[in-house]
């Protein structure tokens, strides 16, 4: 075995974060003046000493990464998974030289290109053609390389007709396709990719995945790949690192790492940690979207419920949009109660999701006798991301971010 192409040794990254101390949250006008004065003095001192200016009154160290060591050999595709805030993006930033490690050492034996965002540096005023050159240069391609691959890039993105239109007039899909097409034609020895496949429609995603696979298989290039899409990770990565709280939790073959990752509590999976307060409670719950690429997606909630003695009850699902506003309620058993026998069993609940807008949702589950007694609830601990299906009757798919709400209405003319 030759020398590894990437060698990471005891890597750590620290950030300083400022906090507002709690006791000072409510205050009079005089307090505010006094505090502003103090703040000014402190900031001036910070600046004189060349320190960073932080908001708030208390400064805390935050270790985004700690004791990270691993090797990657040439031609390997390494996946990195972890929950939000586990340090994935920080790790990629350090590896791609955007920010400096606080401790530790990284040895890179090759040219690195990183793709932390699709379309970095795209300028809205410039045309598609100009942006290909701009973005290519930013990602580290030479003009010659870009010129050679120009037709291929345009073809991959499918934007021939709009090459001389400013990209600010592009649809978001075209924009993203063009951006990814440029990136897909990078040819560095080491490629670092962050979650960029989660863009575009299903067919374009498939195309991107195919490209990723061929980059690693045929090109023999080393790829570091962060994704939340576990099936993608399993198909293209041989090995996988699971990050947790800034540290390496598991390193191993993808299948094993993914399995281990799934066992840990996450935002799609909840496991009871505190002891139950009643005799009927949730043990586990998992939420997922089934058939996301079909016309009829379904949200499925798998629950494990322990019930000490048989009883009649109702099951509720509350749905919240990304802003935390309640948007929907599902009720089962309020009129015709559900009979739940004693014991621990798995129960599966589902609802059709074809009306939901693209975006992320949080769910709350509740076991109760409506208006009488609440047995147990999992309040806003489960969430899922939803990609709205293409619909025959709509020319576009609605997204939560547009501010028109979280549902499409099944409108009819009579």
């Amino acid at each position: 075995m030759s020398e590894p192409i990437i060698k990471v040794d005891g890597l750590a990254k620290r950030y300083l974060v400022g906090h507002q101390s709690e006791r000072e949250q409510y205050q009079s006008f005089r307090d505010t003046i006094v505090r502003s004065g103090k703040n000014f003095v402190r900031k001036a001192v910070d600046m004189a000493k060349g320190r960073q200016i932080l908001m708030g009154d208390e400064v805390e160290e935050f270790w985004a990464l700690r004791d990270i060591s691993f090797d990657v050999s040439e031609g390997e595709v390494l996946g990195i998974i972890g929950h939000n805030g586990a340090g994935k993006s920080t790790l990629l930033k350090v590896l791609s030289r955007i920010t400096e490690p606080t401790e530790g050492r990284i040895t890179l034996n090759g040219r690195v290109a990183s793709l932390l965002e699709v379309g970095t540096g795209f300028h809205p005023e410039l045309t598609g053609r100009e942006n290909i050159f701009l973005n290519g240069a930013i990602l580290g391609m030479t003009k010659k390389e870009i010129r050679q691959k120009f037709d291929e890039i345009v073809d991959f993105a499918g934007v021939e007709k709009f090459l001389d239109t400013p990209v600010k007039r592009y649809s978001s899909g075209m924009y993203v396709r063009l951006a990814f097409a440029v990136a897909a034609h990078l040819e560095p020895e080491i490629l670092i990719v962050d979650e960029v496949l989660a863009v575009g429609d299903a067919s374009f995603q498939k195309k991107c995945l195919g490209k990723m696979k061929s980059i690693s298989k045929e090109g023999g290039r080393t790829v570091l790949f962060v994704s939340h899409n576990l099936s993608v990770i399993q198909t293209i990565c041989q090995r996988c690192i699971v990050l947790k709280g800034g540290q390496i939790d598991t390193v191993g073959p993808s299948a094993e790492s993914v399995a281990k990752y799934l066992e840990a509590p996450s935002d799609t999976f909840w496991k009871r940690e505190a002891s139950p307060k009643t005799d009927c409670y949730f043990e586990e719950a998992r939420i997922s979207v089934e058939g996301e690429e079909s016309q009829n997606p379904i949200v499925e909630i798998r629950t494990k419920i322990t019930n000490e003695k048989s009883k009649n009850l109702a099951f509720e699902v509350h749905l919240f949009n990304a802003a935390g506003e309640g948007i929907a309620l599902g009720l089962l058993g309020s009129v015709d109660p559900i009979k739940l026998p004693a014991g621990t069993d798995e129960h599966i609940w589902r609802f059709p999701a074809h009306n939901l807008a693209t975006g992320s949702y949080t769910a709350a589950l509740r076991l109760n006798i409506p208006g009488v007694e609440v047995f147990d609830e999992i309040w806003q601990k489960l969430s899922f991301d939803f990609q709205a299906p293409p619909q025959a009757i709509h020319s576009y798919r609605i997204a939560q971010s547009w501010g028109h709400g979280a549902f499409t209405l099944d409108l009819e003319k009579v």
Binding site: R97, E100, R105, L108, S114, T120, E125, L126
Partner: protein, 276 residues
Amino acid sequence: MQTILEAGRAEKNYWRDLWRYRELFQVLAWRDLSVRYKQTVIGVAWAVVRPVLTMLVFTFVFGTVANLKSHGTAPYALMVFAGLLPWQFFSTALTDSSNSLTTNANLISKVYFPRLIVPTATIVVAFVDFAISFVLLLGMMVIYQFVPPWQIIFIPVFVALCFLTSLGPGLWITSLNVKYRDFRYVIPFIIQFGLYLTPVGFTKEVILAKIPENLHFVYNMNPMVGVIDGFRWCILGGPPPFLEPAFLIGIGVTIFLLWLGIRQFRKMEKTFADLI
């Protein structure tokens, strides 16, 4: 090619790396240029309107109303324009390069490249405005039937000096601006006061006559004084300025600011992505 990343490690190949990224430098400069006058009605004409109007006002106020003396026998308007050329280059370059890192924050936090490229590329844009103004100057010479002296061939030397004079403070301020946004507000002041503290609308002699002899060196510490002297010598003739101690003081200040700027920039470069 091996790269080692470690805390506080000075990069061995820093300057070579910078050379490797020269294409990105070109592309960024080209981007700033092609975007500069997009969605404006008169487009590049802005690069003409600004200096011409300033020149007219200065000529009227200082030449006609205040009746100040011109440089030798040169027409007052031409004298003003010869000073305005480097001054506008300096002010555009300084303003743009000082804000360059913060306006390119999205690049800085997502891609690696030698950061020095960003502020230097913006100065290229200022240079293009300068080139347009220079063509205007030639036109004015034709109108005034003014034959420039032979030393006009030295113009590139003083353009380079003007470039370095704006690069130094530009680098210093842009890197501090990443950490302390206060510096963004300092620039308009420097530009506004500088216009009157520097002999742009009048000759240096006019000002020096008004301040005590022993304070002349303070006035000459303004590095743009030397640059403008140089420009006027190239365009209007007269005794060469670069043998006087006044000129050497300006060069010294330029070199010092350049050293300060590069040092500050390189010291902070690696933390830009964290602070921006």
